[in-house]
């Protein structure tokens, strides 16, 4: 599996297709979140400038949101099987104090994603579904008039709540990525060192090494 140009040692963590999807999602997310958060609270109205002002934010926001959804669906499908919760995830979660304090040597061996990543994955899936459905209901230009006003009001609240939870989740996601050295470059170039895989995702490391052996 290892690509010769990066040395035979490195382990491929993210396929090129998935890396492209991930960064397209990020770009769309920044656009959708900035234009949406601008309407969330007056203190954030300045964020509407990113897409060219309040009016442009309202025009573009739903389309940018849908673009994000289009990139997200194949990405989330790819990640689905790796995010199934396993017995060791419970133990990992119960030791969250060790995770935060960088005492990684005490943590159980885990697969490609840790329990925190898995829970965040499900939160993202749920938020994206709610954002899409409620977003369509409150889309004034094309759809809102076809729904009863009570449904529009409910969808407005649901959209704001889901957006809040998603943005909070992304704050955690980005913090973790900056914190765990080697993870951002893996989403850029695709590869991690064997030591990285061994330290953070040992079961996945063994699986990858075995599959290399059979090749």
């Amino acid at each position: 599996m290892a690509d010769k140009s990066h040395g035979p040692d490195l382990i491929l963590r993210h396929e090129p297709r998935d890396r492209v999807l991930h960064w397209l999602i990020v770009i769309a997310f920044v656009g959708a979140a900035a234009s949406g958060m601008a309407l969330f609270h007056p203190a954030l109205y300045w964020l509407s400038n990113l897409l060219g002002g309040g009016r442009w934010s309202v025009i573009l926001h739903p389309f940018v949101g849908i673009a994000m959804m289009l990139f997200w669906v194949p990405f989330a499908r790819m990640a689905w099987s790796e995010n199934r919760l396993q017995p060791y995830d419970r133990r990992w979660l119960s030791q969250i104090g060790d995770v935060v304090a960088n005492r990684d040597d005490r943590l159980p061996d885990i697969g490609k994603y840790n329990a925190g990543q898995k829970l965040l994955y499900y939160v993202m899936v749920a938020c994206m579904i709610v954002l899409l459905l409620s977003g369509i209901v409150i889309w004034r230009r094309y759809f809102a008039a076809s729904f009863p006003i009570g449904v529009v009001r409910l969808a407005g609240v649901a959209h704001a709540v889901a957006a809040f939870v998603l943005v909070l989740g992304i704050v955690v996601h980005v913090s973790a990525a900056v914190w765990v050295k080697g993870s951002i470059s893996s989403m850029m170039g695709g590869k991690v060192t064997p030591g990285w895989a061994w330290k953070h995702h040992r079961l996945w490391f063994r699986e990858r090494i075995r599959s290399q052996g059979t090749r």
Partner: protein, 301 residues
């Protein structure tokens, strides 16, 4: 902005004080619509079109007097005609001039995310400033009277201004000026309330035992009020709500939850940063690479 001769009491999506130096002298104003005197001639509709320079598209006759059938970006007031058969079996034609009620506690303004797109002047008039409107339609969700409309021409929200431009220079609204029966009057809110009380007494002596003033408390009272023959059943008048309130969903959505949510986001980011600085990055050490190498050799034996 548009009318600097008036103070601004509330301004949408604004967290600092609105312009308010001209303290004190401006009284609350109100328009009083006496449905018991209205003959449904629509002179007020025509006057509204003329003063505000509005021409709606030619519609279709749907077999009722309502024309146009609904409010729109070009029609800020519409006469609604209801046929009601009373207890004696007689027909009553209940005609209501529909349009913005100019709520004292306006749901549209509460819901609006665009700074200064909706204001309430010191005299209580609620006005949309379309140059700041972003066309999101939140005012529609905020309004308990189903009044604001997004124009198909420019995607901005419009509604009755209570002729704020005329009122600011001491004139009465165009509809008031034109009403041939005196069914629409305008003045201080206090004066309109006392005029209404007199009229209600009169109506009671004439057999309308339930006559009354419509000035709903759920929105803090309104700056457009109705005298109704059947104040106990406002719904008879083409669905005038009996107890209008800004929806609790809109209150939750626009209330204390937002600053709290904003605070939570800031806290999360600060926590992430502080923890990073305190514990340092999660680095892979040379011994991790060695351990990985050892294990790899074991596996491949």
């Amino acid at each position: 902005m548009a009318l600097q001769s008036l103070d601004i009491r509330r301004r949408s999506a604004t967290t600092t004080p609105a312009p308010m130096v001209r303290d004190g002298a401006t009284p609350d104003v109100a328009k009083l619509i006496d449905t018991t005197k209205c003959i449904g001639c629509k002179a007020c509709q025509a006057a509204c079109m003329e003063w505000n320079d509005l021409r709606d598209d030619i519609g279709k006759n749907t077999g009722v007097y309502d024309n146009p059938l609904d409010l729109s970006g070009q029609s800020w007031t519409v006469m609604r005609f209801a046929e009601y058969e009373n207890e004696k079996g007689d027909l009553e034609w209940l005609i209501r001039k529909d349009g913005c009620m100019h709520c004292e506690d306006p749901g549209c303004l509460k819901a609006c995310p665009a700074p200064g797109a909706i204001v309430q002047y010191a005299n209580g008039i609620v006005d949309f400033h379309e140059e700041n409107c972003i066309g999101c339609g939140y005012c529609i969700a905020g309004c308990p009277f189903n009044v604001p409309r997004i124009s198909k021409k420019d995607q901005k929200a419009y509604k009755c201004t209570l002729c704020s431009d005329r009122v600011a220079v001491g004139l009465e609204p165009a509809c008031v000026k034109t009403c041939p029966t005196g069914a629409i009057t305008f003045g201080t809110k206090e004066r309109m309330q006392s005029d209404a009380a007199e009229r209600v007494e009169q109506l009671k002596t004439r057999g309308f035992a339930n006559a009354g003033l419509y000035d709903p408390a759920g929105v803090g009272g309104t700056h457009v009020m109705y005298v109704l023959h059947h104040a106990d059943r406002p719904g008879l008048y083409s669905g005038l709500p009996a107890d209008p309130k800004v929806s609790p969903l809109v209150r939750v959505w626009k209330g204390a939850t937002k600053p709290l949510a904003l605070g939570a986001l800031v806290l999360a980011a600060v926590f992430g940063f502080v923890n990073y600085v305190r514990t340092g990055p999660k680095e892979v050490e040379p011994e991790d690479e060695l351990a990985a190498q050892r294990e790899k050799e074991q596996i491949h034996g």
